[in-house]
Amino acid sequence: METFTLYREHLGQFLDVCQEQFRVQIPVSAGDGRYRFSPLAGHGVEALALEYHRTLLPPKKYFLLPEETICTFDQKGYHPVEVAEEPFLLFGLHPCDLHGLRIIDQFFSTPYADSAYQSRRKNALIVGLGCLPDDKCFCATMNTQQIMGGYDLFFWDLGERFYIQVGSEAGHGLIHKAREMFHDVVDEDRQDYLETLYQRRHLLTPKVDVADLSQIMEANPDCAVWDELGAACFACGACTMVCPTCTCYDIFDRVELDGSGRRCRQWDSCLFRDFDRIAGEVHFRSDRSDRVKNRFFHKEVVHVKQHQRSACVGCGRCQEACPAGIDVVSVLSRVHASCA
């Protein structure tokens, strides 16, 4: 693994160099202790929130846009639209978001490639950033505190300097453009990096026992938890919008007066009542409890069977967004307790 260090005071300069080639996106404060990914160009490097825990919306917003045009139509037929994207760079993704991105990368490549998603994805460089957990993080429960690739560069904040891992040729290309700012790693850097890892590891302890979780959920599908959640949930869909691995979308037409128009897609939520409605006003999950349960089953049972891992990366966004205060950790621990 190729590694470098960069002094803190050079970070701004480095990002400026990146901006010559990429639209750089960074985490910035959104007030009230909240954060969002936003263009560096509109904020300046002073706005970079290196201490952030989670952004309101996950990085998926750059690849599966909240709303986008699939194609246009007029009297002559349906016409493709160009996904004309300049290359961009996402700075500061935490390990849980790298896992989330990997999950949806895989999702949007099978059984067909989603061409819009994939072309944006190919255009993006990813820079990871090491982190320490807050009270809502539960990556250590979902085993997503581990960094398993999926980045071009990864930054560890060691105080007056960053310890940087290069994960790809494109990542090396970035360093190369500003080579004079970067220093080779010496023993002291390595020691500090290992010390940081050590401290982080001790803050990252599992919050719930998830052993046998999917087996317990399957064996106990009528667990009282689902009815209780159904009664509490407002079916607002916020949890799915903010989730880095929720990918459902809706397709619809927007029409102009002359009959031409655009076919669009928009984020959708399996918590919405009409999500599965078919002709004849038939629903398959008309109870809210069925829909909440379906969301948890999809993350913790279905995805485990299909991909040998949970689809929840433990980012804590849904808890922060939920007006009913529903949080995954306590749901999972109550489900798990049904088998105590």
Partner: protein
């Protein structure tokens, strides 16, 4: 290639089959385009049909692959279908597909084929029926059980006449409300009653079923009592579909996408997905 982009196509002809049901003939504008041409699908597959400005909806292809246009049998029910019925001939539409697994014709080779249709469910099963007739020597007996409320609702009347007269298959109609002027010989009641009295070779019969969801439970129960193997009984499922490619999430049943892994599931698969079927 963008799989969500419809291919431009034209509705070349439509004719009424019954009250609020019509047969639509469609043709892709580009004869070389890779898309639902009417010649390249498996029985039981479906297409996504777009009406510009209104939207898109899934419809089963109602014939076996052999003609150079596409035929869909469509009921008027909501926004897309209502607009479709208003369109004149030679108007622009969009097509994507064909999608879905279709019925497993290979698994039926050498076996008796029992088709159980309720109402509009005849549309996808007509493609299976035509396929079996095209490859008649590869299959055993062919039986169609077709249920409807009234005979006035019978779809594909010319076909029915021909099938009833033909020695290549047996046709049993189940009509809930008979009327004095009814054309076709039929039992009074629902498909279940007809099924009860059918003599089937349990270990050599494959069943394909499509109809309203209320039909599936009772039919599964009868076929089980007749000792058909649950892995030889195939249901076509209807779910809300938006993308057809396994991504939008609308059609998910437990861990499967109805649009990609289905719409046809064996009775065993369907039950393991949580459908209330006895197998």
């Amino acid at each position: 290639m963008n799989v969500l982009l419809p291919l431009s196509a034209h509705m070349v002809h439509h004719r009424k089959l019954a009250q609020d049901v019509a047969l639509f003939q469609l043709q892709l504008d580009d004869p070389f385009a890779i898309g639902p041409s009417g010649e390249n699908h498996r029985p039981g597959q479906f297409v996504m049909l777009s009406v510009p400005g209104v939207g898109e909806a899934p419809f089963s292809i109602c014939h076996a692959a052999h003609i150079d246009y596409l035929e869909l049998c469509i009921r008027r029910t909501g926004s897309v279908t209502r607009r479709l019925f208003e369109l004149g001939e030679n108007t622009l539409v969009g097509l994507r597909g064909p999608f879905g697994n279709g019925f497993p014709m290979e698994k039926m080779v050498g076996k008796d084929v029992l088709l159980i249709a309720g109402g509009l469910g005849l549309a996808p099963l007509r493609s299976v029926l035509q396929y079996v007739l095209q490859h008649r020597e590869s299959y055993g007996r062919l039986i169609l059980v077709y249920g409807m409320g009234r005979q006035a609702e019978a779809l594909f009347r010319e076909d029915l006449e021909y099938w009833i007269d033909s020695t290549k298959l047996d046709v049993c109609l189940a009509v809930e409300h008979p009327a004095p002027k009814d054309l076709f010989p039929a039992d009074t009641g629902h498909v279940g009653m007809v099924l009860e009295r059918l003599e089937l070779t349990a270990d050599n019969t494959v069943a394909a079923i499509c109809g309203p969801p209320v039909m599936y439970g009772p039919v599964a129960k009868i076929l089980r009592s007749k000792r058909l193997y649950p892995e030889n009984v195939f249901f076509s499922f209807e779910r809300r579909m938006e993308c057809g490619i396994g991504h939008c999430g609308h059609c998910a049943i437990s861990c499967r996408s109805t649009c990609q892994d289905g719409p046809v599931f064996s009775a065993w698969e369907a039950r393991s997905l949580g459908e209330p079927l006895e197998v």
